[in-house]
Symmetry: C3
Subunit: 335 residues, 3 copies
């Protein structure tokens, strides 16, 4: 959507150095930006690209403004400012209200007139769909679900049952919410399934990435609080609670009944065992998992980055010889 | 489904201490249970919640019965007893037989009259659907598949081709069965695909979690034996055999042609390399993978739980200095 | 498809020892092969099975030919030869061109007459579908996508938007391409979504396994070059580039903006952090992740295979006592 630099600056309360009538119609990186592009400089690593940018305007810190060869929009946090302005310049696709003829809405379900139901959408019994909700192709909303206003389900999302979602959520393809938790009792005859009767409660402004799963509670609900961000292929087990504004990168797994605080961050392939509590503001590093309660904010990890195979083999060899070393030291000490 | 305590106790052969005419219509935790709820006490950790429960009845061990403020159902294994009774009190949703007008059944396929085909279901050529099977919305059964009686496919499940399933299986949304295994031959011109012509054979009473994948065999079949439980986002590669009553938590990956015994358990993010054999009754811990044959039952692991970053950095530093330490000891020994 | 040994040998330029008129109609392992089966011997581990095979013919190295009890097809690389011949004997299922009545094609999309659109397929605005493309049941092609000739989408594949694919690609069920990358800016009010406006560009002859995700670029494109093989449940983040003929086994995750060279191989659960460059011909081992630029081809790893729990506990104990050991050595040195 073309918009003038003046209007952008005014809307977000930023100082503009340059012609307010210049229009931008897209976003680009510093190097690839053209005369209609908005770009940004947030990291020093890219500072050297600034002089050669051909963008319409650069969002940057006041300190960097003097080096900009083009119009400058000043912001203390250029990346956050870019995020907000880019959402204006490149808004999500618009859609018309209405229900495609191939969509199936159960008689006891309720769908607002402003919602969009794409081809092959199914809305189950007793479920309710809020205002301006977009249900993309193939999305299945099972029974007893409640979708807040302005949520978007891109395509082929599945809500098994009993999922309540707040406003403005974004759910990417292949997401599965509310399917049964992994509850089984061992008996002499093998596993007996433990009925999973809880639901899933998701707050406002939550975004969940492709093929991520959030199971329903066994008894009581699984809870995702406001503003949570889950990347692709994550796993949230039954009765987990994820605190507000916590973010998890891809392939993070949280086992059952664990409570995670607010503003936590999990790097890719991180995780937590079940039945523990992790306080606010905890960072879990890549391929590291938390095995007990965490009560102190900070960074937690336990992983070794890959090294050349020969080096690693030597390390492992030494690791396995620690005992021999201990014995040699003991012997020396006795002398 | 409301049912009297007397009927529950009789059906499962349990002793009841309390009024047999009291009815329960739901399940709940000890703390949240109300006068129509069935609850249970299986772990000592929750014993202190027993005196304050307001449940209709508690399933517990005979030793704990005296401390129950409400009716007590006695069981040596309260959790297993709860699983069975909860399935009566909270049965899976019922469904009417019939084929939704939007479902597509190929002419050479065969579907029983008692089966339910929800909207947008597709049943491929030569496939057969057993009695009382539930195929939820968007489920695709590819060609040459055979689904046993009483199976449930919640929604958006995909069987690529040649999958044979026993009775009473449960398949959650996003499950993919029978897609091609990862078979490629390297050539000077790049990878050449190796046709994957085997199928998948799944026994009775198997449950597979959301977005889990079981590939077809390259030659011969991939096999999941009776009573297996796979959690969400697991990966079973071509020609793997998973023994009866084995359970895998989420994000477990088993590489090709590996055979896993009966009653094994894999914790989250565990796994096994390809072409090995793991005996019965093996437990693989979280984020640990088995790299060679296992012939002795027991627990196997190799992972470090996360610690505060500073502590871990020290450990890694010491780890890297083992060699220096060895040299210092050698020097001392020479003296 | 029945074919004579003579025709197979001629087509692929192999020497045949045996009756050229013998027909094969399927493939099988050495042990299970019958008189109409083609089989192969590629690994010495299976050499002992050769004398008892009942196959119509065995593909093997010239050195092994004398030991074959049946017809022999000679090849320097029997596995690659098998891959090519098996594709002739067991070709992928054929399909008739045409659009199923339940498929929905937007008015601005373009679909060739030779393409097959199965039930419940959706093709979005401005998207183009090439010659002989197979779009299996439930596949959703979002807006602005371009699918090259001879691609196959097995079933329930989702392209969110702006995905361009070359020729002859194979995409298994549950694959998600082009969904939003994980871009968020932290602010005092929580995360602000960073619009993801790039696309995905995929080369020729790429195969992507079930439930694998490839995100669109934040700015600019995510790129998968020719001949890449991704197994199931992998994650390719925004703006990653995967070099030609690179292969990744299941559950590999590559974080954002990382560039991977040609002919690399990642074992299961491997990965790479974001914003790094990995050169050609790098092998990353199971459950190992690369944390910095790699400029030298070779094998990289850092993982411990699982051991019996008691052994591992001892190792961890010794690991934690390295510091004490250092202090004891220091004390000895002072003497």
């Amino acid at each position: 959507m073309p918009i003038s630099l003046g209007e952008l600056a005014t809307r977000f309360g930023c100082e503009l150095i340059g012609d307010p009538d210049t229009e931008v119609s897209g976003v680009a990186s510093l190097l690839n930006a053209g005369p209609q592009s908005l770009t940004f400089l947030a990291s020093k690593a890219y500072k050297e690209q600034l002089p050669s940018t051909k963008a319409a305007a650069v969002i940057l810190r006041p300190d960097d403004a003097a080096d900009s060869p083009v119009a400058a929009i000043l912001a203390d946090d250029p990346y956050a400012c870019y995020a907000r302005m880019a959402a204006v310049v490149c808004p999500p696709p618009s859609f018309a209200p209405g229900v495609h003829p191939s969509a199936v809405v159960e008689a006891t379900a309720s769908v607002t007139e402003s919602a969009h139901l794409a081809p092959n959408v199914v809305v189950g019994e007793r479920s309710t769909i809020g205002e301006n909700v977009y249900l993309g192709p193939g999305t299945v909303i099972g029974p007893d679900c409640h979708i807040g206003d302005d949520c978007r389900f891109i395509a082929n999302v599945t809500l098994a049952r009993a999922v309540a979602i707040g406003k403005r959520g974004i759910f990417h393809p292949g997401v599965v919410l509310g399917s049964d938790g992994f509850g089984n009792a061992m008996t002499p005859d093998g596993w007996v399934k433990v009925p999973q009767v809880g639901g899933v409660v998701i707050g406002n402004d939550v975004e969940i990435g492709s093929n991520t799963c959030v199971d329903c509670g066994a008894i009581g609900d699984t809870v995702i609080e406001d503003g949570v961000r889950l990347d692709n292929l994550c796993m949230i087990a039954h009765n987990v609670r994820v605190g507000a504004h916590t973010a998890m990168a891809s392939m993070v797994a949280i086992a059952g009944s664990t409570t995670i605080g607010k503003r936590c961050m999990f790097a890719g392939m991180g995780g937590a065992v079940g039945h523990i509590t992790i306080c606010d503001d905890v960072v879990v590093a890549a391929q590291s998992y938390v095995s007990k309660d965490v009560t102190v904010p900070g960074v937690y990890l336990a992983s070794f980055p890959a090294e050349p195979a020969r080096e690693w083999a030597k390390q492992v060899g030494r690791f396995r010889r620690i005992e021999a070393l201990q014995n040699r030291v003991k012997k020396l000490e006795k002398k």
